[in-house]
Each structure stands twice: as C-alpha cells, then as structure tokens.
C-alpha cells in the first residue's frame, strides 16, 4: 500500500518545508558547550568507574602527546 504524497505545488503556502538547513558557527557551538559544562547538572553528574578511567587515560595520552611534541 502506498500513501499518496501531494505534489509540492499543492502544499499550503504557509506550511514549513520538512527540513531546514541550520548552521552554527564554531564560536557559538563552543560557547554553548562551555555553558553546558559550567551548568550545575553537568558538574554534578555522577561518573562510573569506566568513565573516570577513560577521562584519566585521555588526559594522560594528551599530556604524553604534548610532551613528545616539545
């Protein structure tokens, strides 16, 4: 069974198109991430042991990479 799709020209003039291309600047995105990270909900998030270990591993890898570059 197929559902009939109305041709575009038959859409009501005030109906919004199904998809809208939205672009954010990197600066705006970073600002939003920073805000999120400083929010109480994010800061008070309870971390499990696996996530904690992952954070420490990433930090160590980043530090070692930085030391290698020096």
């Amino acid at each position: 069974m197929t559902i009939p799709v109305p041709p575009e020209e038959n859409l009501a003039p005030d109906s919004a198109p199904p998809f809208v291309d939205v672009r954010y600047s990197l600066a705006a995105l970073l600002r939003e991430v920073k805000l999120d990270r400083s929010s109480a909900t994010f800061a008070m998030e309870k971390l499990d042991q696996a996530t904690i270990n992952l954070l420490f591993q990433q930090h160590r890898a980043h530090r070692e990479h930085h030391l290698d570059q020096q």
Binding site: F42, A43, M44, E45, K46, L47, D48, Q49, I52, N53, L55, F56, H59, R60, R63, L67
Partner: protein
C-alpha cells in the same frame, strides 16, 4: 606482585583504612602506612616518601583536594590516586587537573577494587623511571 615501595592510605574512617590496607597487602605490598587526615598525610609523606598515596576526598579539617594540591606543591613527582565515594564530574576533573594519577570509587565491589588497585600498582612500577603526572 613486585611493588618495591610504600603505600600510604589516607582516610578519616579507620575501617576503610583497614579494608584498603588488607586489599593492598593481598596484592603483595608489605609496607602500607596509614593517615587519618590531610595534615597527618603530609607529615607521613614528608617522613616516609611513599611510592603511592591513596587519598580520600571528603575529610574533616584538610580535605583530599587541598592535600593533593599541597603534596604536589611540595613534591611534584608524588603519585596520588583518589579513593572516594564522591564521584561528581567537577570533583573528578579537579583532581585530574591537579595531577592525580587515578580516581577510584570507594563503592566499587571488592573484587573490582582489587582489579583496579592491581592495575594502579603495576602502572606505578612501570612508570617508576618515567616522568610523573604534573598538574
């Protein structure tokens, strides 16, 4: 396990210190020291120079974060692993940036704690001749 060095366990609760000490001893470490607060930890550290410090965060008078900061100021090479039930992201990230080597949840089941502690002791042995974590 061949861990040639002392481990200092810092916690204000005696039964936790005893529990952690027993676990570390079960991994073959024979020299385990204890301190009941941050102030005592700094004194024991200066005197005994342990290879690893397991440090509680929530303690009266001088808390674990303050103690970590002070230990790193006096000896940037000290190896500290936080051992705590305080696991919010803010506290974990603060300890990470202050130069803690790791962070262990106190509420892990004992067998999981043993696995984590073994891995930390092995890492300390491997890193003995490499540069330690700095803030």
């Amino acid at each position: 396990m061949n861990f040639g060095g002392k481990v200092l366990v810092v916690d204000d609760e005696a039964h936790i210190r005893k529990f952690v000490t027993l676990m570390i001893e079960s991994l073959g470490v024979t020299d385990v020291l204890e301190a009941a607060n941050g102030l005592e930890a700094q004194q024991v550290y200066a005197r005994e120079k342990p290879k690893l410090v397991l440090l509680d965060v929530n303690m009266p008078r001088v808390d674990g974060i303050q103690t970590l900061r002070q230990l790193k100021q006096t000896d940037p090479g000290c190896r500290v692993v936080m051992l705590t039930s305080l696991v919010n992201r803010q506290t974990v990230e603060e300890c990470l940036h202050l130069g803690a080597l790791g962070y262990l949840r106190k509420d892990n089941p004992p067998d999981e704690m043993i696995v984590q502690l073994r891995s930390i002791l092995q890492e300390c042995s491997v890193r003995e001749n490499s540069p330690p974590a700095r803030p």
